[in-house]
């Protein structure tokens, strides 16, 4: 133990974040979110008519998310198209964003969110949620709060924030815990766990995630300001 991680970060330090709004011209709202070497692009289309008609909800609009990993995003080419994993992440993304959006004004309509991972280095679902939250705000969908997500975990007996690929594949076992926060309400909208961890460690990790999400929110705010306040 030398007090530093493999890429020189502190235990509670997240990777360098970049965010950019309005990168998909044809969409109603779009955003790029980059954390370390993970890059996610989200595009929002809608609110628009929803078909087939039996899926329509006359009380409120619905949110539909689609997560996709580009075939070149990982070291070894992955088969393009939907997979068991991408269906799962689409679902958790939807559930993570659902408490933040308010679609009551759009009955019978759908808001489509497309998340594309163009470069993956662990933490893709969290990057996807952050990008989707920005894209929804850019599209002008009424939102109760922004959504920030980060993966925390336990690597080599230490609680660390924002795990990268090396740490995720650590030989002696690592625990990966993606967390999504609604920062104002201080609520958790996504919590998954892969690996083993003690109760006290979870509490410590969640506190670390909350602090990291505050940093992410600042970056998100800055990105939105850059587009709207200065042109």
């Amino acid at each position: 133990m030398y007090g530093k991680r493999i890429d020189g970060r502190d235990f509670d330090e997240i990777r360098k974040i970049e965010a950019k709004i309005g990168i998909v011209k044809s969409a109603n709202g779009s955003a790029m979110f980059k954390i370390g070497d993970t890059i996610a692009i989200a595009a929002v289309r809608g609110p628009r008519d929803l078909y087939p008609k039996f899926m329509q909800n006359p009380k409120s609009g619905i949110l539909r998310c689609n997560y996709n990993m580009m075939s070149f995003s990982v070291d070894e080419r992955i088969r393009p198209g939907p997979s068991r994993r991408s269906r799962e992440i689409s679902l958790v993304t939807e559930n993570a964003l659902m408490p933040a959006v308010n679609l009551e004004e759009f009955p019978n309509a759908v808001v489509d969110v497309f998340v594309e991972i163009i470069q993956a280095d662990a933490g893709t679902r969290c990057a996807g949620i952050c990008a989707a939250s920005l894209a929804l705000a850019d599209a002008g969908i009424p939102m109760r709060d922004m959504v920030c997500a980060v993966s925390v975990g336990k690597v080599g007996g230490k609680i660390v924030a924002d795990i990268n690929k090396y740490e995720e594949d650590y030989e002696d076992g690592s625990t990966d815990m993606p967390v999504a926060f609604l920062p104002r309400r201080n609520e958790i909208s996504l919590l998954q766990l892969d690996g083993g961890i003690k109760k006290e460690e979870i509490i410590k990790a969640l506190e670390m995630a909350r602090k990291s999400c505050e940093k992410i929110l600042e970056v998100q705010r800055k990105a939105l300001m850059e587009k709207y306040q200065n042109g």
Binding site: G61, N108, A137, G140, P142, M225
Partner: protein, 223 residues
Amino acid sequence: MGLVIKEKEFVIPGDVIAEGIDYLPAQGVFREGDKLIAEQIGIVHVDNRLIKLIPLTGTYSPKPGDAVIGQVVNISFNGWSVDIGFSNLALLSVRDGSSDFIERKSDLSRYYDFDDFIIAKISNVGKGNLIDLTMKGHGLMKLQGGMIIDVSPSKVPRIIGKQGSMITLLKELSGCKVTVGQNGKVWISGENSENVIEAIRVIEKESHQSGLTEKIEKLLGGK
């Protein structure tokens, strides 16, 4: 208590604008407990006790009295369905379809056929977003010739300008007919329509900067 964020400041969704019960939420703002919270990206505007957001983005939300440009997508026995760039279609009933008398069982496509563009006024927005249109009013008509471009609905007030100053300028300098729908569709008809499109794109891009009128004058006047 009171305002947390000052007037004319930029907010993102989830920002607390005011605390306490002194203020009331209007467009783009909602109440949660004793806090007023921003729902969209926008600029805070305080009007007495009302707090509203001037939205900087977003799709068009229909309001009664708006003049909009739409496309006929369906004809049924009692009227026309019109796409006005909103998630739900708007309905133009036979009764409000024309100032002429439309006989029963007459062929409705004689008035407005599929794919025709019309300028119509929103007469009513009901629950469940049922939008009623009317063609009875000044300047409401079927569009013939010209072209239609899309602009962001949040930029429409800029294109119209204060008391219609900008649009009058566009019309006078280019000699084109220009109609701006509140839903972000602009109809341009005339010989120099390319120049008008160019000018509108400049307005859209530099809407926040001062000296826009001079710039447009230069752009259209120089040609």
